[in-house]
């Protein structure tokens, strides 16, 4: 266990060394929130109401702030793994007394902690300036708890895509499509509440809302019943995806030996 | 006729100095501190049309910087230069039609394409008509022995094969002058020899002038008539290669390996032993004082030879020797 914490710690320190990266993400968050503030302010004025499907303008902005900080802070395990497969580094990691996936899990934890942290810092400042004070303490609490599960789900998906690098050369395309699924079905650009009924129902059957919508929505509307419901569904999906990931990992271990890596 | 005329050419680079750490980075952004490096210091020389001129010196001596100024890539900090009647940095594109360049460490052939495709593209770049370009490629592929290589993607060629294609490409538009920056870097002896032969042939048949930089004294001996040695951005020596050879390039390095252990009292008059191991010897001798055949005879008489390499001393040593002996 200690060695895994050391990996996470290394990665936190590693991230501090890239101030340009922090600046880049901060600008992205600011641009994103600024544009959507323009869109939703206009939309609310035209609609002439305080709230649309239960969400006010301020709810909308803080929702998007939470979603965007998570999107820009989620693990990039797929890129790390496929990079390692391409340059052959994967052989060193497999030869070390680590579990390959646990190594990447803690590597990702360290990576994300730092990035989500700075993202939230910047996001709060920008969202506050655009939409007034943040949600209540209950919102923060429920968001943080569901962020954990959301992060694990992201990790499983990213690791699955990363493992695909054992089989195919280019995995960037998979990430792009996955990202768009989260953007739309996960509710990153538009809360599920705004979807037509039929699409909402389909989305809730998929893992994506629990990666994005759950923490963001609970953040602005901390309803206990919704919280427990979301949390249960989220961890059910964690169980499913961890199982799939474990299977995929055993399969790709074999593929690697065939390649002679 | 003069091909290149250089007067008091200078190049100073400003390098940003930055202390480590975030605070220093921030400060450097607003108030950078510069230190100046003089890469070329008031260089003057001439080269005749059709001449084979060697430009040698150790790494960082200013050779490449000079070549880059002569092709118009870099703007000088001072001085004048005229290449085929053009001022390179002012008339770069006009000049480019008349010169060819090869930068040994920067390939110009497209990596994923067969060399023939790059050659045809170069035909367009140099505004040759298609028939003319094909005829010229035909001729060059014979001169450089690359006919069988032209259809293979460049990434699959050996370094020596690639370099022959590179030099051939630089001659496509019948330049009056080619500037070769380290054309033999990283090549083995045979590959070096083939490139040198082809370059010499082009010089004889088409009268193309060759300015060649290298830090390999072998290139110089094999190819050039005249040599300029630079160090620290200045000319330290300028003369005919034959003179340089007679006066300064006389020592040879020899490394031999034997099948059996060599006698511990291995010894030879007129030879400086640099290293004696159980199976091999490394030595240096001056061919003016000790004849080569005597050394060879002695070495082959000492046991069954497995391996032998004879090389010229590195340019650094030649320069050191010139400093010690004084210019000719």
């Amino acid at each position: 266990m200690k060695k895994y914490l050391a990996i996470a710690q290394m990665q936190i320190i590693n991230n501090i060394a890239y101030p340009g990266d922090v600046l880049g993400r901060s600008v992205s968050i600011a641009v994103f929130l600024f544009i959507f503030a323009g869109l939703w302010r206009t939309t609310f004025i035209i609609a002439g109401t305080e709230s649309i499907n239960g969400l006010t303008f301020a709810d909308m902005m803080w929702y998007l702030m939470m979603a965007e900080t998570l999107e820009l802070g989620r693990p990039r395990t797929n890129r790390v793994i496929s990079e390692q497969v391409k340059n052959g580094e994967v052989a060193y990691i497999l030869n070390k007394p680590y579990h390959f996936l646990l190594y990447h899990f803690w590597f990702g934890v360290g990576d994300s902690l730092m990035r989500v942290g700075t993202n939230i810092g910047v996001g709060v400042v920008v969202a506050w300036a655009l939409a007034g004070p943040p949600p209540s303490l209950a919102g923060w609490g429920m968001a943080l708890v569901t962020l954990v599960g959301a992060w694990v789900l992201h990790f499983c998906m990213m690791a699955l895509i990363g493992l695909a690098a054992f089989l195919v050369e280019e995995t960037n395309s998979f990430e792009l499509i996955y990202q768009k699924a989260v953007f739309i079905l996960g509710g990153m650009l538009l809360p599920l509440d705004m979807f037509p009924e039929w699409l909402q129902r389909i989305a809730r059957l998929l893992p994506f809302p629990y990666m994005m919508y759950a923490p963001a929505r609970l953040f602005v509307k901390p309803e206990p019943s919704l919280f427990w419901q979301m949390l249960a569904a989220q961890w059910m999906w964690v169980a499913v995806l961890v199982f799939v990931l474990a299977l995929a990992y055993r399969g790709s271990e074999r593929a690697l030996t065939v390649n002679g890596g | 006729m003069t091909a290149i005329e250089v007067r008091q050419l200078q190049k100073t680079f400003q390098t940003k100095r930055k202390a480590a750490g975030l605070g220093a980075s921030a400060r450097a952004l607003f108030k950078p501190e510069y230190s100046e490096v003089e890469a070329v210091k008031k260089l003057s020389f001439q080269m005749d049309a059709g001449e084979l001129l060697g430009f040698i010196g150790p790494n960082g001596a200013g050779k490449s910087t000079t070549i880059k100024m002569l092709t118009g890539i870099l703007h000088p900090s001072g001085g004048e230069a005229s290449v085929l009647g053009f001022t390179p940095w002012k008339e770069r594109r006009k000049l480019a039609f008349h010169i060819g360049t090869v930068f040994g460490q920067r390939p110009q052939l497209w990596y994923h394409l067969p060399a023939i495709d790059t050659l045809l593209l170069f035909g367009k770049i140099y505004e040759l008509d298609d028939r003319e370009a094909k005829k010229r490629i035909e001729f060059l592929s014979e001169a450089f022995e690359i006919r069988d290589l032209l259809e293979t993607p460049v990434r699959k060629l050996s370094l020596g094969q690639r370099m022959r294609c590179e030099v051939a490409a630089s001659l496509l538009h019948r330049p009056k002058l080619i500037l070769l920056d380290e054309p033999s870097i990283g090549l083995d002896v045979v590959a070096k020899q083939r490139i040198r032969d082809a370059i010499r042939r082009m010089n004889q048949e088409e009268g193309v002038g060759v300015l060649l930089t290298s830090h390999d004294a072998g290139d110089l001996e094999a190819l050039c008539k005249r040599v300029i040695i630079v160090n620290h951005g200045q000319i330290v020596y300028e003369d005919k290669v034959s003179t340089l050879k007679r006066k300064h390039l006389t020592s040879k390095l020899v490394e031999v390996r034997y099948a059996q252990e060599i006698p511990s009292n291995f010894h030879l008059k007129g030879v400086e032993l640099l290293k004696v191991g159980r199976y091999g010897v490394k030595l240096r001798f001056d061919s003016n004082q000790t004849p080569v055949d005597r050394v060879m005879a002695h070495l082959s008489g000492a046991g069954d030879l497995v391996d032998i390499t004879i090389s010229d001393p590195p340019v650094e040593e030649v320069i050191a020797k010139i400093y010690k002996d004084g210019p000719a």
Partner: protein, 260 residues
């Protein structure tokens, strides 16, 4: 004329190179079309709920996406080095282009092709056709706006990346600037206040790639035409000027060598 022939020869070489990896190229193209389509679902959902926003409907957004995607795609596919310029300058890779008798900047830009750009082009044309604004004059205006859009994308990036001649590697900075430009170009500038609109017409000229051309293709208007044309010309002029003056300070990677 000779320069056009040269560009055609360069593009042919690029195509030959990408045909070496045909499967990868086709995959990139298909996935880029899917990627753009999936992103656009946001607007389908939005306009499903709200019919229009400040005069913009779903069809107008399709038009805007068509122009922006096509402009980006043409820039990426035919001038693929436009995002790599800073690195080319800093690592001394301009030497090659400078030693040949063709315009160095043009040569450098067109020497790489980003395969997925073809996907953006196909998506963009498709989105334009589906937008319902397809007519002979509309098509002519669309082509014109794509052309100016390409100029603006490339010119903007040349300017930012040419700062590398003075400041060292500006790749990170130019990526930030590019992502801001790209993001803003995909939204109608009618959503923003006057000050922001002004910035989007000047400092971050995103409106000149997205909303202004979209309105211009919808119906001809002199002020839109002038804004787009002047914007493209000024930016291109500025780009060439900045690049040229930077070239005098070009160090061809030598300074790094000297430092060691």
């Amino acid at each position: 004329m000779k320069n056009i022939q040269f560009l055609l020869a360069l593009w042919k070489a690029n195509l030959q190179a990408s045909m070496e990896f045909r499967a990868a190229f086709l995959t990139q193209v298909v996935f880029m079309i899917l990627n753009n389509g999936a992103y656009f679902v946001f607007w389908i959902l939005y306009f499903d709920k709200f019919n229009e926003v400040r005069g913009w409907t779903l069809n107008d957004m399709m038009l805007l996406f068509g122009i922006a995607a096509c402009s980006w795609g043409v820039a990426a596919y035919f001038f693929g080095n436009f995002t790599m310029l800073a690195e080319i300058i800093v690592k001394g890779r301009l030497d090659y282009y400078l030693s040949l008798p063709k315009p160095a900047l043009l040569h450098a830009l067109a020497s790489r092709s980003i395969g997925s750009g073809m996907g953006d082009i196909i998506y963009g044309v498709g989105s334009f056709i589906l937008s319902g604004y397809l007519s002979p004059e509309g098509f002519a205006r669309f082509i014109f706006c794509v052309f100016t859009g390409v100029c603006i994308f490339i010119a903007f990036l040349i300017i930012v990346q040419s700062l590398s001649f003075w400041l060292g590697n500006t790749t990170a900075l130019s990526q930030i600037a590019l992502s801001a430009l790209l993001t803003f170009s995909l939204y109608p500038s009618a959503l923003f206040n006057t000050a922001t609109k002004f910035i989007l017409l000047t400092l971050v000229p995103a409106a000149l790639i997205g909303s202004v051309p979209a309105e211009f293709v919808r119906s001809f208007a002199w002020d839109g035409f002038l804004q787009i044309t002047a914007g493209a010309l000024i930016l291109l002029g500025l780009a060439v000027t900045v690049f040229r003056s930077g070239l005098k300070r070009y160090e061809s990677g030598s300074a790094i060598q000297v430092e060691v």
